[in-house]
């Protein structure tokens, strides 16, 4: 059973390696958006420090959302998605493989790069650590929830914008807990409550969303 799951992940990772530009665009977008705010607001460190949690989290969220349309669109276009729907393995499991590969390509790099940007925002070290933890716990939920939006808007005209419209309201809890965690640690409070809530969001998403994404894929493939 998990042979199929590994195969799906391996295929997507192979494709991602062969086409590094996709990974790069997600990262560049994250960096660019995060660097715009000091230009737009002010380079003054104290102000940037208060801005940092929200800005970095919104940038990470948007970066992840941008790469969502690629999640199923290519498979839908070349027929691989049909074969996955027809595979004996449960579609939910294969969807999990796809989302995990997407997270590796778009979620993990953002988590690894975030501390570097955090330094740009004059964030203290322990806040940087909490930032990494919050992104590590939060980005899986972003990919999982986003997969539903990607599956619902497959092959629909204007799907890039539509995914954002469908998915952003559902991202609000993750954003609140994520940026809240970093803000709390910056102001000396304990971020444990936030991080556990964030983890809860990801686990809930892990439990519920693959089924919804699989159902959406079956609707799209019809």
């Amino acid at each position: 059973m998990n042979g199929a799951w590994i195969a799906v992940v391996r295929r997507d990772m192979l494709l991602a390696l062969r086409r590094r530009s996709d990974v790069a665009t997600t990262l560049f977008f994250f960096v660019i958006v995060a660097s715009l705010f000091p230009l737009g607001v002010s380079p003054e460190p104290a102000l940037l420090r208060t801005l940092a949690p929200g800005v970095l989290w919104v940038a990470a969220l948007l970066a992840c959302m941008l790469s969502l349309t690629r999640l199923f669109a290519v498979d839908y276009a070349d027929g691989t998605l049909e074969q996955m729907v027809l595979a004996p393995q449960s579609l939910t499991l294969l969807v999990l493989g796809k989302v995990f590969a997407h997270w590796l390509v778009s979620g993990l790099p953002v988590v690894l790069l975030a501390p570097v940007l955090g330094l740009q925002y004059a964030m203290p070290n322990d806040a940087l650590l909490v930032l990494v933890w919050s992104l590590l716990l939060g980005t899986p939920a972003l990919s999982l929830i986003g997969a539903i939006g990607a599956a619902l808007t497959l092959g629909v005209r204007g799907s890039g914008l539509l995914v954002a419209l469908l998915v952003l309201p559902l991202y609000v809890p993750v954003l609140i807990f994520g940026s809240g965690a970093v803000a709390a640690s910056q102001s000396g409070l304990d971020a444990g409550a936030y991080l556990s809530l964030l983890g809860a969001c990801s686990l809930l998403a892990l439990a519920l969303t693959p089924w919804a994404t699989a159902a959406a894929l079956r609707i799209a493939v019809e």
Binding site: T153, L162, P169, L170, P173, G180, C201, A215, A220
Partner: protein
């Protein structure tokens, strides 16, 4: 391929039976709505006393609170219809959930605007990042997402099922969103500015709001039935029973 006009288009069990039934119910719900509205307005203006703190401005809650209740209630009703539609593969249920969406979005918008109109005289700010108002705003985005998805998919069958699935996913997320927004609101600002400090609920005010809420509810049912009849006419153009309707009418 020649269009098979002669043969009996296979039976749509529910829409032909539902269409005339809805037609009968609509006038009743409209009248009920107007009666409740009249009573509600009478209470909100004539019976409810002037509030010693907020003067007359508080009367806005007679519209704001019922609208907020309805926006939330209609989303849940929409999600239930969507659930039935997906479970029973019934086109009519999908149509019902689509028929409710615009009315729900309207009430959400109404709740937001009346909320800010009430906030301005009371707290001097057009927009207050109060937990409930913020959640209403996000609920509005969920409605718009539902309507946009339904409108942008051409094939009606797929549009039905995709938007119904979105409504279900949204319904699961609404409590989480409300909880996280309340958590966010209480931590950032404390309860200094908050809509919850409305005047204590005198009985008359509560009945006034209930009357208007009932009026809004009857109104929503009537409008949803009218809209679902429109959707049926637009979608079942080729059905035989619709042809007979056209014959009878023209």
């Amino acid at each position: 391929m020649k269009i098979m006009t002669g043969i009996n288009w296979f039976k749509y069990s529910s829409p032909p039976a539902f269409y005339p039934l809805a037609g009968l119910l609509i006038p009743w719900f409209y009248t009920l709505a107007t009666v409740f509205a009249a009573v509600g307005l009478y209470i909100s203006f004539a019976v409810a006393p002037t509030d010693f703190q907020q003067g007359e401005a508080y009367r806005i809650i007679f519209v704001h609170v019922p609208a907020a209740w309805m926006s939330m209630f209609l989303y849940l009703v929409m999600a239930t219809w969507a659930g039935f539609g997906l479970a029973l593969n019934a086109r009519l249920s999908h149509m019902m959930s689509q028929a409710l969406a615009p009315t729900g979005a309207m009430f959400t918008l109404l709740a937001l605007v009346t909320g800010s109109l009430w906030g301005r005289p009371m707290w001097g700010a057009w927009w207050v990042w109060d937990a409930r108002l913020t959640s209403e705003l996000i609920l509005l985005f969920l409605y718009i997402g539902f309507i946009a998805l339904q409108a942008s998919i051409d094939d009606p069958r797929r549009a039905d099922r995709a938007s119904s699935l979105l409504a279900l996913v949204g319904a699961v997320n609404v409590p989480i969103i409300y909880f996280s927004v309340k958590w966010w609101n209480t931590l950032h600002q404390g309860a200094s500015i908050s809509m919850t400090s409305a005047p204590k609920m005198a009985i008359t005010m509560l009945t006034g709001m209930l009357m208007l809420a009932l009026a809004f509810w009857m109104y929503s049912i009537a409008v949803a039935l009218v809209r679902v009849r429109c959707i049926i006419l637009e979608r079942e153009r080729r059905a035989d029973w619709v042809r007979q309707l056209v014959e009878v009418k023209f």
